[in-house]
């Protein structure tokens, strides 16, 4: 275990992690530059609006980033810093990487975080994480062009349809994510409601409704809305869990 972590935190893996992180950063900067040029050329966003977007994106990334942080810390203890950085930085849902690392270890009869976790088991974990995450990269590589073409064809014949799809789809996704976060069930049976989670969801949603109304005439409030709603939801969930316990 000690020896594995030494390799897992060794120079070579740091170097690989750095390479992977750089490609993510390079890609983001290339898209950023290209889109800024596009925006400036046709005056799509004013400089003030661009400032608002940067600020809003930063504010709204911090909350989720801290949450990812907690899972990542556990992963660092198991598979070391570089692999965590590279895997959670690329494709990571931190939770997926956890399961993948675990499955890789199990396949050689080892267990994460114990002495049975040899260098071979670590290598198996890395293989399973890599190949498992590869699926999303391959489908993105091959499918994005066709998705774009399909959407373009539809918008030419029926622009209302694109707006309907663009707004209905995320509502379906997030209503389900919200329901699943609070309610556990097998099909129509064994329903358990996590009251504290449910209260966190509902309070954040209610806070958001109020903030939206209040933000109609206060631009700065729109930038902070999700952040404030998150804090409201966290506080409500925490108080509920203590009141109920």
């Amino acid at each position: 275990m000690e020896q594995v972590l030494q390799t897992a935190n060794g120079m070579a893996l740091w170097l690989f992690a750095l390479l992977v992180v750089s490609i993510v950063v390079v890609q983001a900067l290339m898209f950023l530059r290209m889109t800024l040029n596009f925006s400036n050329r046709f005056g799509i966003l004013t400089p003030a609006e661009r400032g608002i977007v940067y600020k809003t994106a930063t504010i709204n990334s911090i909350g989720p980033a801290i949450a990812v942080f907690f899972v990542a810390v556990t992963l660092v203890a198991m598979v070391g810093g570089p692999v965590t950085l590279m895997r959670v930085g690329v494709i990571g849902s931190a939770v997926f990487e956890f399961v993948a690392a675990d499955q890789g270890a199990k396949a050689v009869g080892a267990e994460l975080g114990t002495d049975s976790y040899t260098l071979e088991a670590f290598t198996a974990s890395v293989w399973v994480m890599t190949l498992g995450g590869m699926g999303w990269l391959i489908s993105t590589f091959f499918m994005t062009k066709s998705l774009d073409r399909a959407q373009d064809r539809m918008s030419a014949s029926n622009p209302a349809l694109i707006r309907a799809i663009g707004t209905a789809t995320p509502i379906a996704i997030f209503s389900l994510l919200g329901a699943n976060a609070a309610i556990d069930k097998s099909w129509l049976s064994n329903v358990t409601v996590a009251t504290d989670d449910l209260i966190a969801t509902i309070s954040a949603a209610a806070a958001m409704i109020l903030l939206h109304a209040a933000g109609k005439h206060r631009a700065w409030l729109r930038e902070w809305a999700v952040g404030f709603a998150l804090i409201g939801g966290l506080a409500a969930g925490y108080i509920a869990s203590h009141a109920l316990a």
Partner: protein, 231 residues
């Protein structure tokens, strides 16, 4: 006139370039991702053999295999071309990229489906990728020390309630950006999947796809009526 030239620039130059950047960076990332596994296996000689790798891979594929195909489809309507390449390379889509995209659009009051909305989403997602990496680097460098600084109640609340709260808040934002009819379509699709036997891990992708199908069916019906097309 200006609109015309924006659109022809967008389709003729912007989008082809976006695909070139997106595909080449994703390709490079795929190659770089495999290096650590190769290094551990063949330089350090810890190759566990094809058997265990396949066994572990199949266990994972059985559990997320469908998502590889379904997720890019169901997130595409919000993320767009640039956003899809960025989000699937950097991950954390439901918990970070989507919320950031909608908050940026709402902060500048850009309507879904417009160029303004698309530019705001791309800029926002790019910024969130950078912020996320800064945090991750902090994790691996400072790690536990940073968590030890947080008072226990705060740490507990963040750990347990960030996702439920985020989903609630983001759902409201998306509902605010939609017409009542489209919002109902989305909520119905979510409810239908929730009541179905589809297991929780596939749920969100399934709900996305169902919403796309419903939206297509409902709007095709609409287009046939001449009154609505005229209006």
């Amino acid at each position: 006139m200006t609109d015309q030239s924006i659109d022809s620039f967008y389709r003729g130059e912007f989008i082809p370039r976006a695909h070139r950047i997106g595909r080449s960076t994703v390709l490079v990332a795929m190659v770089l991702c495999v290096l650590p596994a190769l290094y551990l296996s063949f330089v350090l000689g810890a190759y566990p053999g094809i058997g265990p790798i396949m066994q572990g891979f199949l266990a994972i594929a059985a559990f997320v295999g469908i998502m590889w195909v379904v997720e890019p489809i169901s997130y595409f309507p919000v993320l767009g071309v640039c956003g899809t390449y960025m989000s699937f390379l950097s991950g954390n889509i439901g918990n970070m990229r989507m919320p950031v995209a909608i908050s940026c659009q709402s902060a500048i009051q850009a309507e879904t489906g417009t160029r303004r909305a698309e530019v705001a989403a791309v800029l926002g997602i790019a910024v969130s990728v950078i912020v996320n990496l800064v945090f991750l680097i902090a994790v691996v460098l400072i790690g536990g020390a940073l968590i030890a600084v947080l008072p226990t109640p705060v740490a507990d609340a963040i750990k347990n309630y960030t996702l439920p709260a985020l989903y609630g808040a983001v759902l409201v934002m998306f509902v605010n950006s939609a017409t009542r009819r489209n919002a109902m379509t989305g909520l119905l699709a979510g409810l239908a999947v929730f009541l179905s036997p589809i297991s929780e891990i596939y749920g969100s992708a399934a709900a996305g796809i169902l919403a796309i199908i419903l939206a297509v069916l409902l709007n095709m019906g609409c287009q046939k009526k001449p009154v609505e097309t005229a209006a």
